[in-house]
Symmetry: C2
Subunit: 220 residues, 2 copies
DNA sequence: CAGCTATGTATACAGGTGTAGACTTGCTGT
DNA sequence: ACAGCAAGTCTACACCTGTATACATAGCTG
């Protein structure tokens, strides 16, 4: 889906709903790839196989389209699965695989970090994150600090997307997915598992051998 | 901070070096605040108190100016301190404090994540990260996976900047700095205090100060 | 002081942006 | 079959972008 040219469809006869849908789908692709400011209405329209003005007709403005595109992008369960068990491992593995180079996986986090700079888009993005991924992940984590912990997990996720997939720093781009998943899981663990995590970080220089309590490492 | 300062200077008499410097300083501010695409040459020039064309005169183009601005921004030791001892704690605390709301601290990470989307700027940013912060942090961490671990630490750093300072998700924006620093330290620990051998630290792997060929120099 | 050059400004250009208004086209109900 | 109206396109506008060219001036050097 969303291949190189979704505009190649054999021409859709006048159908408002289908056109609206085509524009929205094209917008998700373009906004994800170029960010809010970088994606132009004419470009989006061309991908949808339609004139640029249809965006204003169906969505009021570029901003309106963006808001719906963000919602659409964050709609399906992303990054975080749906089960509490093995959450850490699942997140880490999915993150490692999705951010791998060459994998042109459209991800809401790509959309996020390419659009967050724009003041017009920042608020929309924030609502999208908090309402969808943030809430879902917080629900899985639970506890009093669920939201904070969830957003820290998302911070690592977003940062990994940024450095590995967008900027492409070499060590991250070239690492094996399995090894990366291990390290990511270790970083995620303090926020996804264990509700304690108070002091002890300082001179607890003891080798962090503590590998997942209860040996629940093999989540699946 | 970064308010209406630079342009208000009492007029600098014709001085090439000083003008160049003023432009560069203004560029760091503007690029950090608005990103590569968002910052306009006229705006930068106005902040520097000169005409827009001076950018082309002294830096060849907007891209050339950006390259030097990135180098300048990443120049001084950022985020990571200079000592191996207590690295985790230091990083976590600095990150928590710098990303606090209201603190308009100009940070290279802000510049990075606001400009990384732009394909013209991505490469320059990557070199800046790898050459400066990445190398420095990797040198402090040591071990065979030093670079990878360092970049994972930077990923968490960048992500925290993004979600807390740029997007402004509420749980992250509202948390107490001390508590945040604790959680960040716990997340950083697996990569900073890794199980790897600590012998390789002896060697100074970090070699900052090299301005990257092609990015330096400029008109005349 | 005269004059030359480095330093800086002003104008203009070609292209791009989002969007408003007038226009055309195709489907559908009677 | 023929209106009527929704669906879609075209043109234009006001503004903004980076930069090239032509021009003005300050300040050192003879």
């Amino acid at each position: 889906m969303l291949g190189p040219m979704s505009a190649a469809q054999p021409a859709r006869r006048r159908d408002a709903a289908a056109t609206r849908e085509a524009i929205l789908a094209a917008a998700v692709v373009e906004f994800t790839e170029y960010g809010y400011a970088g994606a132009g209405v004419r470009q989006i329209a061309e991908r949808a196989g339609v004139s640029a003005m249809m965006i204003n007709r169906y969505f009021g403005s570029k901003q309106g389209l963006f808001a719906e595109a963000v919602d659409r992008s964050f709609g399906p369960p992303t990054v975080v699965g749906t089960e509490r068990h093995g959450l850490t491992r699942t997140m880490a593995r999915a993150l490692a695989e999705n951010t791998a180079h060459g994998t042109e996986h459209l991800d809401p986090f790509l959309l996020t970090l390419r659009s967050a700079s724009d003041p017009e888009a920042a608020d929309i993005v924030r609502q999208g994150i908090e309402a969808h991924v943030g809430a879902r992940l917080a629900g899985l984590i639970g506890g009093s600090e669920a939201e904070l912990r969830a957003q820290l997990g998302l911070a690592l996720t977003a940062g990994t997307w940024l450095l590995r997939a967008v900027v492409g720093t070499r060590a991250l781009a070239g690492v094996d997915n399995d090894r990366l998943a291990e390290l990511l899981a270790a970083m995620l663990e303090p926020v996804t598992e264990g509700p304690a995590t108070e002091e002890a970080v300082t001179e607890e220089a003891a080798r962090p051998g503590r590998p997942a309590p209860g040996s629940g490492s093999a989540a699946q």
